[in-house]
Symmetry: C2
Subunit: 549 residues, 2 copies
């Protein structure tokens, strides 16, 4: 499932057979154990200092003695040192490790067997911090406030946010442990990949400066800690690997993405696009990496568009308009009754509206329609509503929706999407221009996240959101934040790379980039003020569209 | 005051001047600090990994920012890694470190300025574990029991013992801090030197196996921890250096003694004798070290002899018998009214009794006296009591004592002292014989502890307790356990040596040594069954003694 050159998990079982103590060999239990483990590690070329944490010393030495001075030592393989944290008389059947994608709205996690890499369980849950604000900025704001007074909760906003996310993580831990048929305390290693703000809040660090120029995190590369220092419900001595970040707007989730796509190892130049609330983009190869991030995502996430929702059951994810018969068809995730529209559905919808000439190149609904056929007139009469609330397009009539209300797209939603698509394209052009790379030079564009999984690149090209390249250049990579977290659990090489990438990457700050602003203005049209950039779009437009089969 | 080649204290102030963050240099606060400190350390050739503990990260980064990204970083210089634990805008005037001799009955401590080595305060207090038993064996026994139920105390005997010693240590910390005019939290480093059992109890480790063959400690060389892990009342991030031990009967206090006397660096062969409850002896030079320990001390410590007491105010420390005028004179510590007799007083007394022919070569009171002069008869009448309780010698009449009771020496006390002196001499002969060294080869005999400070080597030779060597071979070294603890606070070289000594030393187990038992039998006479070993004693005996001036 995961690529890793050599089996070098974050936590290892080291089999030791020590001679029992005698008057002639009166080494202390802990020293005897340490020497036995150190000998084994040295034989493998591992020469790092070997420690035993004081809090675990008594139980560890007791188990070693109980087992007759032979068995299996559990060793945390950290970069600065190794530490012995447990002892088994027999090698355990499996060694669960927990990888976490710490998202702003959702947490997604998996349990893996550290010894084999085999998946044991996977799942997700809501980040309870949502109760303190949907987006990152509102969380940062809340962190600086006095906490809300409520039952059993007090202290600062930061403490509240920390407790909320910790509760969520621990719920997820227990859920996955149950699915895997083990106890939470059986989980022996943790890796966490998240954006910089989420990591700050989990560690109880003030995010105050993250959103204020010059946008400085309190820490980018926290040293690994033990689970009990963080309050995680797993084995107290489990090491917690926190994926390092590059800056306030470039988090460990993107380092994970680079690991998962091997952007840092590829010979050819490729690109990684991760769209969440922000669009985060990395460009490069094994020689160099450049990255930037910008607010290209809001329109695509739940909570911004009026009927916007996260990609989940009931979200409209694909829309098609048959321009011969003037019929609209759509697909929802899991086929559930429609509740709203997710990001990919929104892009499909707007692209189809453009191809059907229902919106113009500025992204405005065309209220004056020409060459109207009877079918088209009927379609418009049923779908396009203009009243005192403004103009809106009915995607799903009230009678067909999950909640008995229409699922609609308003002009405001359209404007917001236009800004997002313009930002996205401007980010991509600014980044490639910065290093003198043409889009055509790209061997691969990895598109991460739910956005990447559901988006139809052709529709995004139609809108001028993604560059006009052969569709097979685009590759959906799923939750690369979680994949990267899994990889560092299993591979020392990936842990090293995660730290090396930090030193290798150049971060381009767009907030102060003049070219970006110029490009943004040019990109606020469909597909672009310079149509020559999108030669395929006229062909797409010549199609008459079709219903979804 | 202390020898240390280079200024390399356990905790250092590292001055850093970092550039403030900007859009062009958006490194995180903690990473910026770490890089600045790492650059300074690398410039000095220190290339160890540099960490920041999670628990201190927030406050540390906050102080760094507050100080304008320049000032003074406090760095724990541990063997496996360095860790940044605090930050000051200005270099503090002094940096107190706490050195502790963790004794079974008493704790003795000092505060030093880590930057200059200057003493800031010194003092001692009782080890409250005494409430659970006076000697080590009774403590080990109590550790395995259920705890006594009492106000605010519960749990196991081990937990009680740990709490008791921790309270004592923290009382001492606060007392010394007050004397030095600082807060306990200003103390930035701790070193602890104690016997193996005391260290186990302080760390909350079961001492069960320490007193059971083959006498295996749970740990000899615990890794340094932070003060908050141990519950010490000093700065939470202060590193705690625990002097390593060699075995159950050879503790870190002796490693301290070797450091303080530089036995491990001397060209000539020398010896260190530390008499507490046990006599612990080390022999060697910079090439080799051999050590053993045995129960030679009980008679010399408070609590065994009927009127025995620790060397403190009111303890009779010197006794002289004028054998012309038959008068006994004595000196108490601090000149306070006599309460009892300390170890050195006991040795003086018994040697004088022997020289005055009041006891025979077997250490028995001579009830039938020959060649009695009138003065001698009168002396005996007043001093030697024989009744149904047995035979006893009155050292201080009731009217002259602090408590209105006679200070006496009983035959039982004498028998006990004879065993101790025989054990001591047997230990010394067994140890030297083991490596083929004659007593005459010894360049120096360091005598540590209160015993060493107060003992008169000539009297110990008279009894056949110490070998018959020129008196200037003997050197009192005071509390070398505390001295060694101070040295590791100040010198990385001493910290390295303390670990190297562990690997270098050979421990001779006397509990199973046949030769030792034979020698013990030969040594149970004054001065010895082989008087040729003590050629000076007849000369001493020819003296007529004198009163103490």
């Amino acid at each position: 499932m995961h690529k890793h050159e050599s089996r070098s998990p974050l936590v290892r079982c080291i089999t030791v057979v020590a001679s029992p103590p005698s008057l002639q060999d009166n080494r202390a239990d802990a020293d005897r154990l340490k020497q036995a483990v150190a000998n084994r590690l040295r034989a493998e070329g591992v020469d790092a200092p070997l420690l035993i944490p004081l809090a675990l010393l008594a139980s560890l030495a007791g188990k070693f003695r109980q087992a007759g001075f032979q068995g299996c030592a559990l060793v945390n393989m950290l970069p600065a040192f190794c530490e012995i944290v447990d002892f088994f008389s027999e090698e355990p059947g499996r060694l669960p490790g927990f990888a976490l994608d710490l998202g702003t709205t959702h947490l997604e996690g998996s349990l893996l067997d550290l010894r084999t890499g085999a998946p044991l369980a996977a799942g997700q849950c809501v980040n309870r911090q949502i109760g303190f604000g949907a987006d990152i900025l509102s969380r940062i704001h809340h962190a600086g406030q006095d906490g809300r007074l409520g039952p059993g909760r007090s202290g600062t906003g930061l403490a509240e946010l920390r407790a909320a996310v910790l509760d969520s993580v621990n719920d997820l831990v227990r859920m996955l442990a149950e699915r895997a048929g083990c106890a939470a305390e059986d989980i022996r290693a943790v890796s966490i990949s998240g954006n910089t703000t989420m990591v700050h809040l989990l560690l109880g660090l003030s995010p105050y400066h993250l959103c204020r120029e010059p946008y400085i995190p309190l820490v980018n590369a926290p040293d690994p800690c033990r689970a009990d220092e963080l309050g995680l419900a797993v084995f107290s001595g489990a090491p917690v690997w926190i994926m390092p970040s590059i800056g306030s707007y470039f988090g460990g989730d993107l380092i994970s993405g680079i690991l998962a796509t091997e952007l840092d190892r590829a010979e050819g130049i490729s690109m990684l696009i991760d769209v969440g609330t922000n669009a985060e983009v990395v460009l490069g190869n094994r020689e160099w990496l450049i990255a930037c991030a910008g607010a290209a995502g809001p329109a695509l996430e739940g909570g911004v568009a009026r009927m916007g929702m996260r990609a989940g059951p009931g979200a409209v994810e694909h829309v098609a308009i048959d321009r011969d018969r003037w019929r609209l068809s759509f697909v929802t995730i899991n086929g559930a009754p429609a509740e709203g529209i997710c990001g990919s559905g929104l892009i499909d919808l707007v692209a189809e509206l453009y191809l059907a000439r229902l919106i113009d190149f500025r992204g405005k609904f065309r209220t004056e329609q020409d060459d109207d056929s009877a079918a088209r007139r009927d379609f418009l009469r049923r779908r396009l509503v203009i009243d005192e609330q403004g103009t809106r397009f009915i995607v799903v009539p009230a009678a067909e929706s999950a909640h008995g209300r229409e699922v609609v797209l308003t002009q405001t939603d359209l404007d917001s999407l236009m800004r997002s698509k313009a930002a996205m394209y401007s980010i991509l052009t600014t980044l490639t221009a910065q290093v003198g790379v043409a889009f055509g030079d790209l061997a691969r564009i990895h598109v991460a996240g739910a956005f990447g999984r559901h988006i139809n690149p052709r529709q995004a090209i139609t809108l001028g959101m993604l560059p006009d390249l052969p569709l097979d250049v685009y590759q959906a990579v799923g939750n690369s934040s979680l994949r990267g977290a899994e990889q560092v659990l299993l591979s020392g090489d990936c842990r090293r790379r995660s730290l090396e990438i930090r030193g290798k990457i150049t971060y381009l700050e767009l907030n102060v980039n003049q070219e970006f602003m110029l490009r943004f203005t040019g990109a606020r049209f469909i597909p672009h003020t310079d149509p020559a950039l999108f030669p395929s779009v006229p062909h797409y437009r010549a199609d008459s569209g079709a219903e979804i089969a």
